[in-house]
Assembly symmetry: C2
Homo-oligomer: 223 residues x 2
């Protein structure tokens, strides 16, 4: 019987049992894991809860560019693993989240905004101005892709911290063949896979956190 | 006298005074703010603490692509504001964080890794393999820019949540002229400004959080 990963199933990320994990602690303790317990699973409800939190990340005009394909099926994970340099964590993690951009998200945004204006929730002139700016920006496919890349970063970090809060291990990955991933997952060209985040229960043997550059090496204050 | 923003100066983000903010709460309560108290300031130590937490975000090979220019100087903020559609939040926020990529970060990574191997901290063959892969990937300027875009998303989300934990308001911005920003901040071509995050004390009149799409609209489970 595969163990279920409950909300606080694995306590290594928490300071005390049952306590919520604060932001600083989650940032400082999260480590990109290579080794996952292949017997652990995540339910659809658990996956949906993680995505709902990742959805809280901001986006340009609130367009919400990030899409999530969560793979828990063993056969599909094996196919994705073969298209990702055979990295074992894709096969072993409970869920493989493939984060895609959405290059036509501004069109759905325009539909939502027009409905909101029709319902009196947004003034019509504000709606027209916002939709005009968003359409001008993101009908340019380069800008749509660049904003999608920022967005998978914003959403992906949120997803990893939400996982950390639940005692789940995670690892972001970009070492995969996006064309093969699209074929395996039937993704159209408007939804390019831009980042993978594997989530599950950590197994033994993971490396410690890697050192970070000092603030003096990455920060300039103009004040 | 300008009020100082202490660690927990503004309690709207917290459930109870003095309590740390957990991840879910920070994600669910953070709102992109337009209105900032122009009298509030952030010290160099407070800025450095935020950047240190943002630095905890993961990056490909642990290369650490994101760089931070934190502007607190009034005159410089005014110049940046003029290059960002005159959006008042750039002038009013306590600190304007300009997040840049670093398109040559893999070169500094190779230097660090060689030093680590020389010190016996990393096996030489592992070092050679990692440096070889990183160099192959990121000597391609398109890949370096795309990874920088993902990285400012990962780091930027971490920065905003760290600010939220401290009771500080934030807003991510991409509506600025990157060429003008580079000129104002003396940024070379290897450090393109890719995202701005303003941080400070919220003033009155901010809009409520905007609605998010339902998980069913953004998530497919293959299981």
């Amino acid at each position: 019987m595969a163990p279920r990963l409950g909300r606080y199933a694995d306590s290594h990320a928490r300071s005390s049992p049952g306590a919520a994990v604060n932001v600083s602690e989650a940032l400082q303790t999260r480590v990109s894991s290579n080794n996952f317990d292949a017997e652990a699973t995540l339910s659809g409800d658990e996956i949906t809860a993680l995505v709902a939190l990742a959805q809280e990340a901001p986006s340009s005009f609130n367009i919400q560019f990030t899409r999530f394909v969560a793979v828990t099926d063993t056969a599909t994970k094996q196919r994705l693993m073969a298209a990702a340099w055979n990295q074992p964590k894709i096969g072993a993690a409970a869920a493989v989240f493939v984060l895609t951009g959405s290059l036509k998200a501004h069109e759905a945004y325009a539909v939502r905004m027009r409905a909101a204006a029709a319902a009196g929730e947004v003034p019509a002139d504000v709606m027209e101005r916002m939709v005009g700016m968003a359409t001008q920006a993101y009908s340019n496919p380069v800008r749509a892709r660049e904003e999608s890349l920022r967005s998978v970063g914003l959403s992906g970090m949120s997803l990893m911290l939400a996982a950390q809060e639940r005692g789940l291990a995670s690892c972001p990955m970009i070492g995969f063949d996006p064309t093969a991933f699209s074929e395996i997952l039937w993704l159209d060209a408007d939804h390019p896979p831009l980042m993978v985040i594997v989530v599950g229960r950590a197994a033994a043997g993971n490396s410690p956190r890697k050192p970070r550059l000092a603030p003096a090496d990455v920060l300039r204050i103009v004040g």
